[in-house]
């Protein structure tokens, strides 16, 4: 074991150490149950643990509370409920509060309560969280809430390790590999999710591993071990969150391309498969969007206005008018922490928006400069592009269908893109790869300093929100 640990490259060990420190700080600083939908996810784990039943078909609340008496006591007597999304509220932070909670929480029922929205999710992540829940079941409610958050740290580190491997496979060992993994590690929304009992962090780990395995399948051929591992990841993703289902498309594409290369099937190439996926996928998404109350025109207009300015001939978008790619993705990947109420200062949001747009231009320029390498890796490029568009298409489809009945809630949000965070890291590293050696060194320094700075700013914002 120790021998294997010694084989971990020092830069990766340093990065994993730094990521662990930051994650632990987030976990302790953010008051319990203040992450996105965290109380719902906690209740799911508690339901399985206390009733020994997986709520496969959740329905109704039986006229009672959605949560157990124990969770209800934490919400009311522990002050967690009034704190939720209320920026004028602060956590109850005196020992007198704690003593009062202790008296009222003694013997509170853990097994009662109805159903919460999270119980529509598949159970894999919640089964994993049973381990910390069980270990701390003899302790207080807060022990469980905290230990369940800490159980996310290994998933975070697994995700980073696979991003490291992916970057190493594509860009070679060295600073670019380090930049790719560190960029992912320092994204504030990712650490926000690590500090929350929420299956999104499991999805990030599964997708990061799957992207690496797809790369191996493409480069080394569809060996049985790789295909089995990839298939297991797809199943795990499906049993973690339905949002993982689009991963099947790029994974199948990678397997087919790997097989085609090995067996010399010329007709199965990146171009035909990429176009094939588009020709089947796009009409399918459009047809699903147009069912019932939906319309192709409205769906198209919604997608257009999410990414581009509204054209004169277009009707206003179905959802909130100002909820576009900047608000929904960029602002929410770099900010909108806790339960969305902790945003970055407007100046930093503006800077982030400019950096993202300039970064996209820089990435395109880098890919043009590296066109020979892109051509050599055309299969992988198509697989990664397919992973991106299929995830986006499925998110927009689900959001559109939901907005047909409830247009006030845009549904789609930046953290749903976190499974692709490895590709973001790769993109940042690819931009650095076209720079001369000295400029690349400076670029690495700037990128990592910006990452650390935005982590510190985010922790400061949480401190200000809850304790100042």
């Amino acid at each position: 074991m120790l021998h294997r640990l010694r084989q971990v490259p020092l830069p990766l060990a340093c990065l994993l150490g730094a990521a662990t420190f930051l994650a632990c700080a987030w976990i302790v600083l953010m008051p319990p149950l203040q992450g996105p939908d965290e109380v719902s996810h906690f209740a799911y784990v508690q339901r399985i643990a206390e009733r020994h039943v997986i709520p496969w078909t959740p329905s109704g609340n039986g006229g009672g509370q959605p949560y157990s008496t124990e969770v209800g006591t934490a919400l009311v007597q522990g002050g967690v409920g009034p704190l939720s999304r209320n920026i004028a509220a602060r956590p109850l932070w005196t020992r007198a509060d704690e003593r009062l909670w202790s008296r009222t929480a003694a013997g509170a029922d853990r097994g009662d309560g109805g159903y919460t929205s999270a119980m529509r999710n598949p159970p894999l992540y919640y089964l994993y969280e049973l381990v910390p829940y069980g270990i701390s079941s003899g302790g207080k409610f807060w022990d469980q809430a905290l230990l369940m958050r800490f159980a996310n740290v290994p998933l975070f580190l697994i995700a980073l390790a696979f991003i490291w491997l992916l970057a190493g496979e594509l860009l070679g060992r060295g600073p670019l590999q380090y930049i790719a993994a560190a960029t992912a590690a320092l994204i504030p929304q990712l650490t926000n999710i690590v500090a929350t009992v929420n299956p999104d962090i499991a999805l990030v780990a599964e997708w990061s591993a799957a992207l690496y395995l797809m790369t191996l399948v493409m480069r080394r051929g569809p060996r049985r071990g790789l295909i089995v591992a990839l298939a297991l990841l797809l199943v795990a993703g499906g049993f973690t969150q339905p949002r993982s289902l689009p991963l099947v498309v790029p994974a199948a594409m990678a397997a087919l391309l790997g097989l085609a290369r090995e067996r010399g099937w010329r007709r199965v190439n990146p171009l035909t498969l990429g176009l094939g996926a588009l020709l089947i996928g796009v009409p399918l998404v459009v047809a699903l969007a147009a069912r019932g109350l939906g319309s192709v025109r409205q769906f198209g207009s919604y997608i257009w206005q999410f990414y581009l300015p509204k054209l004169g001939s277009m009707a206003p978008t179905i959802g909130p008018v100002h909820y576009d790619v900047r608000l929904g993705f960029v602002d929410r990947i770099f900010g909108t922490l806790a339960q969305l109420e902790v945003g970055l200062p407007p100046t930093i949001e503006d800077v982030a928006w400019w950096v993202v747009r300039l970064g996209l231009v820089a990435l395109l320029a880098a890919l043009v400069i590296k066109r020979d390498a892109v051509r050599r890796n055309a299969g992988l490029a198509v697989v990664f592009l397919t992973a991106i568009w299929t995830l986006l298409a499925s998110l927009h489809l689900v959001a559109y269908r939901a907005m047909l009945s409830s247009p006030g809630d845009p549904i789609i949000t930046g953290r749903y893109l976190l499974p692709l965070i490895g590709l973001l890291g790769l993109a940042v590293a690819i931009v650095g790869s076209v720079l001369p050696r000295m400029a690349r060194a400076a670029y690495a320094g700037v990128v990592l300093a910006a990452g650390v700075a935005i982590q510190v700013v985010s922790l400061g914002l949480l401190l200000e929100r809850f304790y100042a």
């Binding site: 340093c14 302790v28 509220a89 009062l100 807060w142 600073p175 000295m438 990592l448």
Partner: protein
């Protein structure tokens, strides 16, 4: 150390020093109105009212107060007229405070009551008696911001919990209250319920993580 490594580490360190000086120090030293405790926050979506008629008394039980508290604040509505005088008492075993709020305060204002510091955190009962001739309403929450505080008007239980917070006498900075803040973060943290753990984690995140990232950068074969 080779030149690219020096450049990378130099740029990284310089950026972080500039950030610390330009952002970190002002953030920590900025004077703020940091609450001493917010036992009962304002409503989130809909404002409710607890109306105190002339001669009536509203009491709030299980209100936690901290040793930093030197002021109590209540949100009030006076129906477009000057507010009536109020008699305020704050009681707990070993702690009593009495104060009078003169009439004439504005509608939709925050009434501030000076308090002696309690020696330690404790649960108090806060009572507000309307000693004037006109009714006054305390702004309150019956939505998700409804707090655990028990509220009674003339002994009868009511649901909305009045917006009530305790504050220090003067604005303070996070640097001034670093120790107190670490202690506050440690509350309701289960097995990590110690302020030294909060300090340790703060040091690891603010110093350890940046140093490890720099070390990783230096050793990544630039």
């Amino acid at each position: 150390m080779r030149r690219p490594v020096l450049i990378a580490i130099g740029v990284y360190a310089a950026c972080l020093v500039v950030f610390a000086v330009a952002v970190g120090v002002p953030f920590l030293t900025k004077k703020r109105d940091i609450p001493a405790e917010v036992p009962s926050p304002p409503p989130l979506v809909a404002t409710s009212l607890d109306v105190i008629r002339p001669g009536s008394r509203l009491c709030m039980r299980d209100v936690a107060i901290s040793p930093q508290a030197q002021q109590m604040r209540l949100g009030v509505g006076t129906y477009f007229r000057p507010g009536p005088p109020l008699a305020v008492t704050v009681r707990a075993p070993g702690y009593t405070a009495r104060a009078r709020v003169a009439g004439g305060y504005k509608d939709n204002s925050t009434v501030t009551v000076a308090l002696p510091r309690p020696p330690s955190s404790r649960l108090v009962t806060v009572c507000v008696r309307n000693t004037g001739a006109r009714k006054v309403a305390l702004y309150a929450a019956a939505d998700t911001a409804h707090s655990r505080v028990l509220v009674y008007i003339n002994g009868r239980s009511v649901t909305p919990t009045p917006t009530l917070s305790f504050h220090e006498a003067r604005p303070v900075s996070l640097a001034d209250r670093a120790g107190v803040t670490a202690g506050r973060i440690a509350v309701f943290r289960g097995f990590l319920d110690h302020s030294w753990i909060v300090w340790l984690l703060a040091a690891l995140a603010m110093l350890g993580a940046p140093i490890l990232i720099a070390l990783g950068l230096a050793r990544s074969e630039i």
